[in-house]
Structures are given as C-alpha cells and as structure tokens.
Chain length 209, copies 2
Amino acid sequence: MKIAILGTGRVGSTLGRRWAAAGHEIVFGSRDPSGEKARAVAGDAGSSATAASVPEAATGADVVVLATPWSQAETIMQSIGGAAGQIVVDCINPLNDTFSGLDLGFTESCAERIAAWAPQARVVKAFNSVSSATMADPVYDGQQATLFVCGDDDDARNTVIELGDQIDFESVDAGPLKNARYLEPLAMLYIHLAMNGWGSNCAFKILKR
Amino acid sequence: MKIAILGTGRVGSTLGRRWAAAGHEIVFGSRDPSGEKARAVAGDAGSSATAASVPEAATGADVVVLATPWSQAETIMQSIGGAAGQIVVDCINPLNDTFSGLDLGFTESCAERIAAWAPQARVVKAFNSVSSATMADPVYDGQQATLFVCGDDDDARNTVIELGDQIDFESVDAGPLKNARYLEPLAMLYIHLAMNGWGSNCAFKILKR
C-alpha cells in the first residue's frame, strides 16, 4: 500500500520506518516548506520512503496517517481536501495547551462526584475496570493483571494498592482522583470488548522492559 | 482491616470473598431489608464475613467498598453519613440507562471531530495510546503489546488492524469510532504513567484465558 505519514515527529517517523520495512510505499508529508525534516525521516526509513508536501503526500495514498499535534489537525485535514474515500488513521491525542488533560471529551467522573457528595471521605477509584472473573483470580498464565488505583489521599490510595496486591493483582498508582476520568473510560473499553467476543476472562496488563 | 462491602453483586461478593481469605474482617452491607442476599454472600466468603444493613456495615470500617449500581451511589453515600475520614473504594462505572455509554464525563473525541471535518474520509483511531518506543518494537519479552483500533468503516478498520499486525502489534478491534472516547483517555492514562516513573518502554496488553 501507499501510506502517507503526515507528521515527522516520533510517532510518524517510527510508524513510517516500520511500515517501510514491512514493504509498504511511504511518503512523509511535512508542512515545513523546506521539506528538510521530511527528507531526513524518509532517509532514515529506507529506500522505499520519500518526502513531499502534505497535499502531495496524501494524493493517491491508500492510507493517510495523521500524526500531527492536535492544534494542527484541522488545518491539515483541510489541506488534503478532506481525504475523501481515503483511510485516515488518527493517532492524535487532543491534549490541552498545558498537556494536563484532554482539550475535549470529558469533564467529570463518577469518583469525583462521589467525593463531592462526601467531602470528608477519602475516595479511591479502583476495581472498576476488571471483571469479577479477574478479581476471583487475577493471574493469567503466570501473569498478574494490572489494577489501576487513583485517589487524592496518599494513605488511602496506598492502602487500596496493598489490598489489590493481597488478592494477586499488580496494583499500579494511577495518580489523583481526577484520573478516574481515564479509568472509567478504560472500563467502557473493557466492557465493549467483553461484550464483543472477549468475554469476562480478559484483563489489562502493563508490559514493561 | 475491617472492610465493608456495599453491594452484593458479582464485584462485591468476589472482592469480599478474596479479602476474607486474605485475613481481613469483611461485612457485607445490603439495602435489602431481609438481609438475605448479604447473608448468602457472607456465607460464601467464609467464617470471617458477616452481613448487616448498609449503615451498620460501614460503621467503624477502615475501608468502605462501593460496589453498587451507579443509580444507587448517591443514596448509599448519604445513608453512611458521607463516610467521614473513611477510605471509600469506588468500583462504580457510571453507565447510562441503556448501558451504551457513560452517564457523565465525556461527550466527544478528537477522532469524531476529525470525521466531522472530513465526512467522506474513513477515519480510524489507532496508535494513540502506544509510545513511539513501543511502535519501534511492540514485543516485550516475547509478548506483543495490544493495539486498539476503532472506526466505523469495516474495511478501513480491518486495514489498520492488519497494518498494526504487520509491525508486530496484537491489534484488537475496539469497535466504532465513538469508542475513541475510550482510547483517548487510555492514552492519557499511559501518559500519566509514563511521566510518573514508568517511562516510554511500557505498553498495555490484554491478557486472556
């Protein structure tokens, strides 16, 4: 396939290099008029990769990969004529200006509302994105499922982390209570998968090296 | 510790049983005036587990586990006096009435906005919740990182799944494009972890059995 990579940062350059190695025709598109960065990443990606302007790169591509900052996304989409009929892979996270959260999408969580109802309680979000089948046995073929735990009170959060560890989870400190805004959607992803063929005997894990 | 489990469904009963086995004192609290369900799950959880009304269960507990439906959460918190000073573990997902999404928190995603800008493009969300270090090599000690892929066009989504597989991800069909509302917060969780000690060489995987 011909794949246009729009964006020459770490995500775009890495995906382009790997797909070039897998045999695809890669064109890096850059907004930089000199084309210098796009030529550099194309050079790194191997002989099947080339560089072009954004509209040129997108023209005729089977797949257009959007790997730009969120602030540039609308302009880029306009500059490629809306990519009519093309597959557009959106790799963007709509981070706000301070990178402290998402610019759109969500503003609240169940956990924060509970904390608002009970301001003297030390609320911790946990166990919401694992099935009861996983709670019954969090060890999958020798590997522990990850338990994400967030809360504003350090002692409370650490206690729940310990409670997770005691029943064989690999508990992970997921930060302040407002991160329930991430853990509740994570549960929705799990629920979607469980209801679409994965069932209840599946769980998230963080791999590390 | 004395742990009050509020809710006698699968989550509450499973956690209570496991923490009872780990040596904790468990009290199941139920809103059912007969107390029948709470006694049944306490019986299953072993000799250290008992049953009580919700306020009785919460009284004096070190940890209060909220494992009720979202619709009952506010009433439960009121009935236990706001759990002042207690650790409250929120296991709830604020599902809407039809279980098709969350009742609060988010309403949009970057991917959907891109699709609105480019209604003729076949937008697929992917590669947003994996680091470039993972893209460079998605295999962690023999295990493939999971790539979540969502989009409304089957052919486009399947193409991106294949593109993920070609560079050694375990690509997973994560459903329609609106599920970007889950994948974008997932990326925020990853970013939080990466910036708090985990670094870029970590990735999500779904364990299954």
